[in-house]
Symmetry: C2
Subunit: 408 residues, 2 copies
């Protein structure tokens, strides 16, 4: 008997009919001889509706009351899904995050899950029940309801699955799985059967918006297999898993890439001709961090030994604030100029075998060059090579790389 | 410093604007130097919407899941009201029934409140906070959410007020208070300043639909003053209170009635010529009770010593089922016939001083007779005289009695 955790997102429980469909799948999984724990999001636009109601009352909501309000969304869908399962003839019980023993930090609206006291979950499972838990929430040490912000219900599902030592955590969503790249950009993008947590993190954080990076991080930390699949059909999706050393070796040998991620929502900023002395990077990036601006790629280059150019990328939404901070620091440091380009894109080739496979980076640069795509910045990690290019060439860059690396 | 419990019903928190109005009143009460605990119902039609969603999924809802679902309605309004109070600059915290320590029986959907563990309530009050509690709900011994059915949020308010030894429990509603009778029937019906719990029980259970009898019963048991008033204005409403012995004596002397209640939703059933032997009433009314039919007035009369006629009233909605049961039992008992009249009404004169005031009943019967209104059945309690009359004459009966007893 396997223990399967399933998570249904807002679209998958978006109406009474959808909830019934989800219940059918839950019951089918149970009747196949498994123990089943289900994590649910709020129905469709419920959360947005609650937030808009709150906005009529205050522009500066109290975080504790915000959590008290928003947590009702998942409670409604959990109770309805449990009712639908019972209607199909199986035993079920819905539990709030608190009832399910999901203990978080004492930080309203963005608490992290600290522990899952799974006694009640285990007890209900032992009574042959399907247990349905509200995602996105827990309780703090005072017994107050908290929502967990980043990663939401996906993170709830992975952490609960890990704490129960579940065999797999299935994430039901409105896509079929994880693709080699965005199918809207490359028509013959291929669905991946397997991807490692590390690769998925690189894919997610650079643009593939299927799951929140926080939930993948949790999957990686706990070694939890995550099966991303569609709630609309019975197809197998993509398994996010820990690759065996043998598997990693094989991929290193082949030099194969797993996928191409991209982020068209990037701006590039340059602080030019900064007098080169210790502490200039620290001064600039501490000031940006203080404004909660998240900086991605950073390149520092030397101009004849006396002055340095600093270039970095930020999210396009942060550009205005970034320039304000950058000019302030530039003046302090005696830099010549601050320049920016809001029209760039970051293209990332991702694969666990890439770092030790010779020639992968060279092939990427060569492919872009052959297609007259100029590379403005480069950064690499163990399993990723990223290039910043002109935003207008982003789509073409993804397409030619997808073909060159045989990802179709 | 007084401790005031305020309860706002569904209409009084029916929109963001209404919630802001309620918040203003709450804050005003606090700033007048009081401690304030607020009990809220769900916003307007929220509960109906949740029930209709559930009906799309099952016709036979699981009671536990029903409670899990419905309890979200009050949680939303509590969080919104707390947010509105905080926006006005006061400290506030919303609590679910469970967090507020409202412990109920382990009976989903119709649990009674067993106790209020008020430690958290007291702690929050001591921190100078306005405490807002979800009405209509608590938790059972397993930590599961229960709703309390009968009496709902009114009962929550009265029980919480009593457990905190509050000075008064204010019930905010969309009427100005309790009237001598329904102002839609008698234009010059007068708002009462004071009414005893016992009188209010008689007024409520025979038709004045302002508060559920269960909440009045709780008020009576705990000796809790209940102030029923409008959330739309600042007028004083009606205080439901315990009359002092002196006050009762004074009313006995004057022979005054407090009000006239009526129920036009009544059906009369007669089981005729039942062979008179011990156990016939028991046989009939046990059978009706088994079908959960609530019987109101009962009259047994003797026909020449050998056979008896049994007449009783039921709610009109129960008439069909009642007749089925009555015919079955009538055949068993050898009765001649079952007759019914779905068009009757019950008119009740209510007042604490009536039982020992000579002539009140006589005056009631005389007034009806003078106006050609035939009395079909009579029953009395210590503080009430009820007559069943033809439904078409109900309105006139209320009007002539209201005038005869000088209630305007």
């Amino acid at each position: 008997m396997a223990l399967i955790v399933q998570k249904y997102g807002g679209t998958s429980v978006g109406s009474a009919e959808r909830i019934q469909k989800a219940a059918e799948r839950v019951v089918k999984t149970k009747r196949a001889g498994n123990e089943v724990v289900v994590i649910v999001s709020a129905m469709g636009h419920t959360t947005d509706e609650l937030v808009s109601l709150l906005k009529q009352i205050t522009n500066n909501p109290d975080p504790r009351e915000y959590d008290m309000l928003l947590s009702t969304g998942e409670q409604v869908s959990a109770a309805l899904l449990a009712s639908a399962v019972i209607e199909l003839g199986e035993k079920a019980v819905s539990l709030t995050g608190g009832q399910a023993g999901v203990i978080t930090e004492d930080i309203p609206s963005k608490a992290r899950i600290k522990a899952v006291k799974f006694e009640r979950l285990k007890k209900e499972l032992a009574q042959d029940k399907i247990v349905i838990v509200t995602g996105f929430q827990g309780i703090d040490s005072k017994g107050d309801i908290t929502t967990i912000g980043r990663g939401g219900s996906d993170t709830s599902a992975v952490v609960i699955a890990a704490s129960l030592k579940a065999d797999v955590c299935e994430i039901y969503t409105d896509v079929d799985g994880i693709y080699t790249t965005d199918p809207r950009v490359v028509a013959d993008a291929r669905k991946l059967d397997r991807i490692s947590h590390e690769e998925m993190l690189e894919m997610a954080s650079v643009g593939a918006q299927v799951m929140h990076p926080r939930s993948i991080e949790c999957g990686k930390i706990y070694g939890m297999d995550i099966h991303v699949r569609s709630s609309m059909n019975e197809n197998k999706g993509t398994l996010i898993t820990k690759f065996s050393p043998k598997e990693v070796k094989k991929m290193e040998k082949s030099g194969l890439a797993t996928g191409i991620a991209f982020d068209a929502n990037v701006a590039k900023v340059g602080v030019l001709q900064v007098p080169d002395r210790p502490g200039i990077a620290s001064a600039l990036f501490s000031a940006l961090a203080a404004e909660k601006i998240s900086v991605d790629m950073i390149i520092q280059s030397i101009h004849g030994g006396k002055v340095a150019d600093m270039a970095f990328t930020v999210s396009r939404a942060d550009l205005k604030k970034t320039l304000e901070v950058a000019w302030k620091i530039a003046k302090k440091l005696g830099a010549a100029e601050v320049v920016s380009d809001s029209g760039v894109a970051k293209i990332s080739l991702v694969g666990v075998g890439m770092v030790s496979a010779p020639g992968v980076a060279a092939k990427m640069f060569e492919t872009l060059a052959k297609n007259n795509i100029n590379i403005q910045m480069i950064s690499t990690s163990e399993i990723r090579i990223s290039c910043v290019v002109n935003g207008k060439q982003a789509k073409k860059a993804v397409q030619v790389l997808h073909e060159a690396f045989g990802l179709e």
